[in-house]
Symmetry: C2
Subunit: 222 residues, 2 copies
DNA sequence: TAGATTGTTAATCGATTAACAATC
DNA sequence: TAGATTGTTAATCGATTAACAATC
């Protein structure tokens, strides 16, 4: 029901939603077991996660798929948030063009860059403005979320400018940690962390394969 | 010392390394406290993480920076891994051009795509080949890591082909979960999960600001 | 020596998993 | 009714934090 949703659960909710939407299975109902199998999660975990946002599960049949999708969409997309992105390189363009965000009430409305060749152009229908106009536009549009896809040298100073202009959440894709005041949220994405985990898994699997086949290899999924 | 390193710790090690390398502070030594403050981590956590891979800490002064960097680099970059990338769109290009990976012994050696306009071209000195040649080249070069940056419709089938060709670890950036057999490692990156956490933080901070300033807002960093 | 810092052991916290009762 | 599935409560596991002894 209406428990407080843990961070771990919150991170899985978009995964369930995505899984439900992309599964091309005609049945009207879906059970926790089915979802768990598709995702490689534990079925009790799925059941508990779902129980935390809805009470739509029916013993014997599972969840009415349409209803579950609606509940998830409603929960995850409840807030409509416009964001701007700074640094329209390859990654910046990829994020600007990504359609999946709107599902979560999240919309990148403009890009900023210093490159004159980019200014005035559009990516996925969204204009790229000169970095000079960042503060003005953020204020005018009351933007509260900023995405940083810049080389690391410029990440911190840009974050400071964004915050100065009124941004209260920063999604940082630069390979450096950004420090922000206590009243600002920040999520530092870190490719290297993911890579380290993947490479270790690979190493462990290789070792298991070379060694006797006696050991079951426990797999961390992610 | 030589404890087994937990997943949580492993994910932080690249962050420490990056922080050490980018800090422009001349001192020869660095303490856990300093690192913790720079990253917004707990200082005991930093100390414990570092203790798990080295015993170079000296009471009163901290860690010899040069030595700590060397230990981290050695631990994280111990395995040299060549990888290929499938789907040379914006995100694919961004990853192919990203220089930070080589620090971890990780190197994208080639890209694959179906678009004739891309085939034969290069990104950051790495050639883009026709997807037809994927299996042959992976076998010939004994590639064990594959990166998928494709629209979600093609993600699973491509994963299957990669595995078929000998790949044993898959880094999936498509917004869908990929299923792999037990002897293959997989890391599904999920933008929506990160976004959900960030948006909730923002919401909580806004609520705190609007409400009385009596409550301290606890911040999840990431 | 005194003080700052490390590293370890114990306690707490959070998340997952197991066991089981409820229900359609 | 019987069986499959949900949802909850208790137990386990893992990670973080706190307390403290060791050391330069």
């Amino acid at each position: 029901m209406t428990t407080v949703i843990s961070k771990a659960t919150l991170q899985r909710l978009p995964i369930y939603l995505n899984c439900l939407k992309t599964a091309d299975d005609a049945s009207e109902y879906v059970s926790a077991t089915t979802l768990a199998n598709r995702l490689g999660f534990g079925e009790v975990q799925v059941r508990k996660d779902l129980a935390s946002i809805c009470d739509a599960g029916k013993p014997k049949v599972g969840y009415l798929k349409k209803e579950l999708v609606a509940v998830l969409e409603n929960y995850l997309g409840a807030d409509m948030n416009d964001a701007v992105l700074v640094g329209v390189g390859h990654l910046g363009k990829a994020l600007m063009a990504y359609k999946g965000f709107e599902e979560y009430g999240f919309k990148i409305v403009a890009g900023f860059d210093v490159d004159p060749a980019l200014i005035g152009r559009k990516v996925a229908g969204k204009e790229i403005f000169s970095a000079d106009r960042m503060e003005t536009l953020i204020r005018r549009l009351h933007i509260r979320i900023g995405i940083i896809t810049l080389p690391k040298e410029y990440a911190q100073e840009t974050a400071d400018k964004l915050i100065q202009a009124g941004v209260r959440a920063i999604w940082n894709f630069s390979p450096t940690y950004i420090m922000v005041p206590d009243n600002v949220a920040v999520k530092n994405e870190n490719m290297a962390s993911s890579l380290a985990v993947l490479v270790r898994q690979l190493k462990e699997l290789s070792a298991a394969e070379k060694g006797s086949a006696a050991h079951k290899n426990e797999k961390e999924r992610g």
